[in-house]
């Protein structure tokens, strides 16, 4: 029965993909998952499976943590005899809502450039016998399918595991179903809202701004959005408590704002439909979803008419113009690079490589955003009443800030180094691999070390001096970098040391609430290591020696080894 259904579904899917509309939907959906950028330009192409795994991970991890928290043994040990799952889980429900909205919005922000049709689509598709209406509706269908996939995948784990964790041990099936339905409705609607919010934002900017201006502002807007999302995530632990402490009027004013209002949906499904407070929150949440969806649709239509249909009339925007030299962040680097010509050129090459594309910049800015938000959260819990003159000891949270920022930056650099480079231009690694050049290895190592040094928060001693602290942060900073020198890949060792050394060398630098900080660092580490397999070093080296290995063969080629060799020779 199952195999017959699967076969029937496969036949339907195959028949649909053979129609022009189905073919277009498949093309656009594939583009949304892979991004609009050129694979040949060395952009990050994680593949659909890895993206889906990354989307599942946050919900899965937090759900697994709740299994322990709501286990019957733990409840017994805490002396919680009578257990009301609906009131006891409000703070976790809010955490899941925020997590769901953040993950979906982050994925939409990541694929922001691929949501709307671009010049490549115009060149390839418009000269074909297709109506513009078909292109419009096929892309809309792909966007909605993408939103549905994101929503389901990002919340799939929590929709199953969280109800099991909370009410799995209860004998009542109706209670379980009611709880699961309320949770699912809340997190799914939060995801839908956040996707449409980002979709609307991108659409409005595309429709209102000239193409070149949009491309220039795009990265900054995404950086600010990521900070906002992370800040939202960071406050998810405190908002439920804050609501309890506020007066009824103030709480009501805050509760109707998304994403807090999505708690109302869960409460309504759980049986509080008659509660006016829950009803107001639910109404506000539904209005927010409706408004976001409506704005997104209007923005999509306007941007299609204003941007896509006018593409042949618009001159090529070309690549984003680099900042003038005096304002470029690379100026600082150029000034401090080694004086001799070869390492200096290598340094500039590494700097350009690391910051050369949107994917690289996104990675670095994202890691910086994580660092900023975690630092802000750490500071928010610290007592800031001290002064240098009175020799009052500064709060220990200050010490942790450079480490947090450094760790996040180094992890970002580490990840950015993994993003494939355009090997034809990658002459520093050719130097490295050239057996006749004995000095190449040391040059390359020195270049990477200098680069990491300059990037890795050189303000530690300054920071410590200004605040009148001792030299332990500086000592640690130096140790991390010296230790990194003995490794072939300094950023890797840096990121590892940045995790462990703060704990071992300066134990008091961690804030009192270690659990929360550790959670963030662990989370970031897991994410970074989950993505790391992209371009493993051995394969990378093989590709460096033989550029033809770079060809992305999608299926096993049905040619003999002799033919394959001819193919490589031809490609050279």
């Amino acid at each position: 029965m199952i195999s017959r259904t699967r076969q029937w579904l496969e036949e339907r899917r195959s028949a649909f993909s053979r129609t022009p509309f189905g073919c277009l939907v498949g093309l656009f959906l594939n583009r949304l998952f892979r991004g609009a950028a050129d694979a040949e330009a060395g952009e990050l192409d994680l593949g659909v499976a890895v993206i889906l795994v990354l989307l599942v991970m946050p919900g899965l991890l937090v759900s697994l943590l709740t299994l322990e928290k709501y286990g019957s043994l733990m409840r017994f040990l805490h002396g919680q005899g009578a257990f009301d799952p609906f009131s006891a889980t409000i703070s976790d429900e809010y955490l899941f809502i925020v997590l769901s909205a953040s993950v979906t919005a982050a994925a939409a922000l990541w694929r922001w450039d691929a949501i709307f049709l671009d010049r490549r689509d115009y060149t390839n598709l418009v000269p074909l016998p297709l109506s513009l209406r078909t292109l419009f509706s096929a892309n809309l269908c792909a966007i909605l399918s993408f939103a549905a996939i994101l929503t389901i995948v990002a919340n799939g784990a929590s929709m199953v595991l969280f109800p099991i964790a909370v009410v799995g041990s209860q004998p009542s099936l109706s209670l379980f179903l009611r709880f699961a339905a309320g949770h699912a409705a809340a997190v799914l609607s939060a995801s839908v809202f956040s996707f449409f919010f980002i979709f609307a934002l991108a659409g409005l900017l595309t429709a209102l701004l000239p193409s070149a201006a949009f491309r220039k502002l795009s990265l900054s807007i995404r950086f600010v959005s990521v900070i906002a999302l992370l800040a939202l995530l960071a406050t998810s632990f405190t908002v439920p408590d804050l609501l309890k402490r506020l007066s009824v009027t103030s709480a009501h004013g805050i509760a109707i704002l998304p994403p807090i209002s999505f708690l109302g949906i869960a409460r309504t499904v759980w049986g509080n439909a008659n509660d006016p407070f829950s009803a107001a929150m639910t109404g506000a949440a539904l209005i927010a979803i409706g408004l976001a969806a409506l704005t997104a649709m209007v923005a999509y239509i306007v941007s299609f008419r204003r941007s896509f249909l006018r593409l042949p009339e618009l001159a090529d925007a070309g690549p984003i113009r680099r900042l003038s030299r005096c304002f470029s962040p690379l100026t600082f680097f150029h000034n401090l690079a080694p004086r001799s010509s070869s390492p200096r050129a290598c340094c500039q090459f590494v700097a350009r490589s690391l910051l050369r594309s949107t994917a690289h910049l996104q990675t670095l800015l994202c890691s910086l955003a994580v660092g900023l938000v975690v630092s802000a959260e750490s500071l928010s819990s610290a007592s800031l009443h001290f002064s240098v003159e009175s020799n009052t000891s500064p709060p220990m949270e200050f010490l942790s800030i450079p480490f947090i920022l450094s760790y996040c930056l180094l992890a970002g650099i580490r990840f950015a180094f993994e993003i494939p480079l355009d090997l034809r231009a990658n002459w520093i690694f050719r130097l490295w691999l050239d057996p006749d050049r004995h000095d190449s290895r040391s040059v390359a190592r020195r270049v990477l070390l200098v680069f990491s040094f300059l990037f890795g928060a050189p303000d530690f001693p300054l920071h410590a001096r200004i605040l009148g602290m001792d030299d332990r942060p500086s000592a640690h900073n130096g140790l991390v970098r010296l230790h990194g020198r003995s490794y072939r890949n300094p950023p890797d060792s840096f990121s590892q040391n940045a995790v462990y050394l703060p704990v071992s060398l300066v134990p008091e630098s961690l804030p009192p609430d270690r659990g929360r900080l550790s959670f963030w660092l662990l989370h970031f580490q897991i994410l970074a290591s989950a993505i790391r397999p992209v371009g493993s070093p051995p394969s990378h080296q093989r590709r460096l020696v033989h550029p033809s290995v770079r060809e992305h063969t999608r299926r096993p080629p049905l040619v003999s080894p002799t033919d394959a060799r001819h193919g490589q020779a031809h490609h050279f």
Partner: protein, 255 residues
């Protein structure tokens, strides 16, 4: 028969093309020549229906192409100037997509793609993604995509760009063979010697205006020059080429 009637195109207040008129009969190969910025690409976009002319119209068999653009594009094969293909698709996947979007029957589509890939020496690269193709290989894919549905009208914008010598010879002969079969070919190029050999008729454009139009031999005779290169220089180029070359050599030598 494809006909351009007094085509004018303004981009804002800038006049890109002015009163361009010609007829492209079946079996005719019309060369379209002009320096950079002369309005060639704008004309091509109007002929393919990507742009609507500000004044004038493009007709096919007497009917304005914009009245039934889908039917017109069904009989049109177009090779754009830039091979801006989807880098994540393989060569075969891209052609399969084009065939599907052209609503070609499955069996005809498969056999045509396989045969053309083989003939254009791309068969062993069919599972390689387009992002890894060289420019010449991408150009071949565009040529196959334009030819695979047996179009009546071919609009080729610099089709030989990036091709190797053998492929250039094949494409040049192919254009003449297609013209002998009654296909209309609009050939836009900078390579004068190819235009001279391939095209039966010629239009020379400068600053959006037609300077010369007619059979290639007749244009040459009218200007009184032996080669098309001389004709082009006579009509289009104001600058003294010899003087520019000597200036460049001087600058290079000084530096």
């Amino acid at each position: 028969m494809l006909e351009a009637k007094n085509l004018c195109k303004f981009y804002g207040s800038v006049l890109a093309v002015q009163n361009v008129a010609f007829t492209l009969d079946p079996g005719q190969v019309l060369g379209y020549l002009g320096p950079n910025g002369s309005g060639k690409s704008t004309t091509v976009k109007m002929l393919t229906g990507l742009l609507e002319p500000t004044y004038g119209e493009v007709t096919y068999d007497g009917q304005n192409i914009h009245k039934d653009l889908i039917a017109y594009r069904k009989i049109l094969g177009y090779v754009p100037e830039e091979p801006n293909l989807y880098p994540h698709l393989t060569g075969e996947e891209y052609l399969d997509m084009v065939g599907t979007l052209r609503a070609m029957p499955q069996s005809r589509k498969s056999t045509t793609i396989a045969s053309l890939l083989e003939l254009f020496s791309l068969w062993r690269h069919r599972y390689v993604t387009l992002g890894s193709y060289s420019k010449g290989m991408r150009q071949k894919i565009l040529l196959i995509a334009a030819l695979m549905d047996n179009p009546d009208v071919l609009i080729l914008d610099e089709p030989l760009s990036g091709l190797d010598v053998t492929s250039v010879l094949i494409v040049k002969s192919l254009i003449q063979a297609l013209s002998a079969q009654g296909k209309s070919v609009f050939y836009c190029s900078h390579i004068l010697e190819v235009v001279e050999k391939v095209c039966s008729h010629l239009i020379v454009l400068r600053k959006g205006q037609v300077l010369a139009h007619g059979p290639t031999s007749s244009v040459r005779q009218k200007i009184g020059k032996d080669s098309l290169e001389d004709v082009f220089l006579e009509l289009v180029e104001d600058a003294d080429v010899t003087q520019i070359v000597s200036d460049i050599v001087g600058v290079v030598a000084c530096s």
